[in-house]
Amino acid sequence: MNGEDRKPVTDDPQGRLLMRWIHGDLAADEARAVERRIAEDPGLAARHRRLAAAWEDLRLPASAGAPEGFRDGAVAAARRLAGELTWSLAPVWARAGSLAALIIGLVLGTSFATVDHGGLSESRLTVDQDAYALLAEPSSLAESFWLTLEESEGSLADGNGNGGDGGERVP
């Protein structure tokens, strides 16, 4: 844009003054002075006619303005943007921490889901064990000790972790 201003602005001061007058950007006394000069100078008058004709010939259709719902659309977009901005304005450590947690979660989740023990998923086994533990809530410290012992023996007896737990076997 600045390249268009390379020519000095002092070029053709008469033409620029005429243009200001046509646009109505001159003070009343300046406008009167230009009018007088146009009346006295036929060359200037001809120049003025050409510029004014080109200016007046410029026409574009009326704008229909904003369509229905334009405001609401803009506000909804701003709300979405505000959410994004909140995240982008969070401290770097918070964003990095969240990203690391996400990656760790994904890695762990993937490995957890893919480890298979004799056709059983590890997650299902864990749930069953938890359910058993809840049902067989030890009522005393001694009972708790024996239960723990039985569980550990069972685990050791079955390398798949599928037996010796005293609970119902998963088919």
Partner: protein
């Protein structure tokens, strides 16, 4: 943000800067018509203009907290709009260049700019008006970006030289110079047309 009591929009903009989307809605409501109109003048296509105007408002929403007021809010919005439209035009030019003119006949995408509601009483006058709009559009499209912006702000938005200077962040002398050069080009183009030279 500095307060400008003479312009009620500053108060609204201050709230927008704090992320208040309701105030943003107020700002959009106040300026949507004039910004869409300006984008239509700059881009020559109604649908693209609406899209561009929404992008302009979102830019304003994003920039509200960093902007230091120096004038009226609408001149700031105009500045964002003019720059945004000029960028779009540059992109459009580049796409046309890269697609070797495969975007259809010239002027095809401008058809939507012609307002069917703005109708004259008879078909001949309507046709004449359309021809005039098209001629104006072609003349404007041939102007360099800076001259085009100044001409549109002066002729179709009715801004004074001072307001244009404030909007585009240039001197009044530069406005004067650009507008005069733009109109001189129009005079030459019209003389060429009237002599029947394509």
């Amino acid at each position: 943000m500095e307060q400008r009591p003479e312009d009620p929009d500053w108060e609204v903009l201050t709230r927008v800067a704090e992320g208040d989307t309701e105030s943003f809605g107020v700002l959009v409501e106040r300026h949507q018509d004039r910004l869409i109109r300006l984008c239509e003048r700059m881009l020559g296509d109604r649908e693209t203009a609406r899209e561009a105007a929404q992008e302009v408002f979102l830019k304003a929403f994003r920039k509200a907290s960093t902007y230091r007021p120096r004038g009226q809010v609408y001149t700031w919005l105009y500045r964002i709009a003019v720059n945004h439209c000029l960028n779009r035009l540059r992109r459009r030019k580049l796409v046309r260049f890269l697609s070797f003119g495969e975007t259809g006949p010239a002027g095809q995408d401008r058809e939507t700019a012609f307002d069917p509601a703005d109708e004259a009483p008879d078909a001949a006058t309507r046709a004449e008006a359309r021809e005039r709009w098209q001629r104006t559009r072609e003349l404007i499209d041939r102007l360099p970006a800076g001259q085009r912006a100044v001409l549109i702000l002066a002729k179709f938005e009715g801004l004074s030289y001072r307001q244009i200077a404030e909007t585009l962040e240039i001197t009044e002398g530069a406005v004067e110079s650009r507008l005069f050069r733009a109109v001189q080009r129009l005079v030459k183009a019209q003389e060429t047309q009237s002599r029947g030279v394509p």
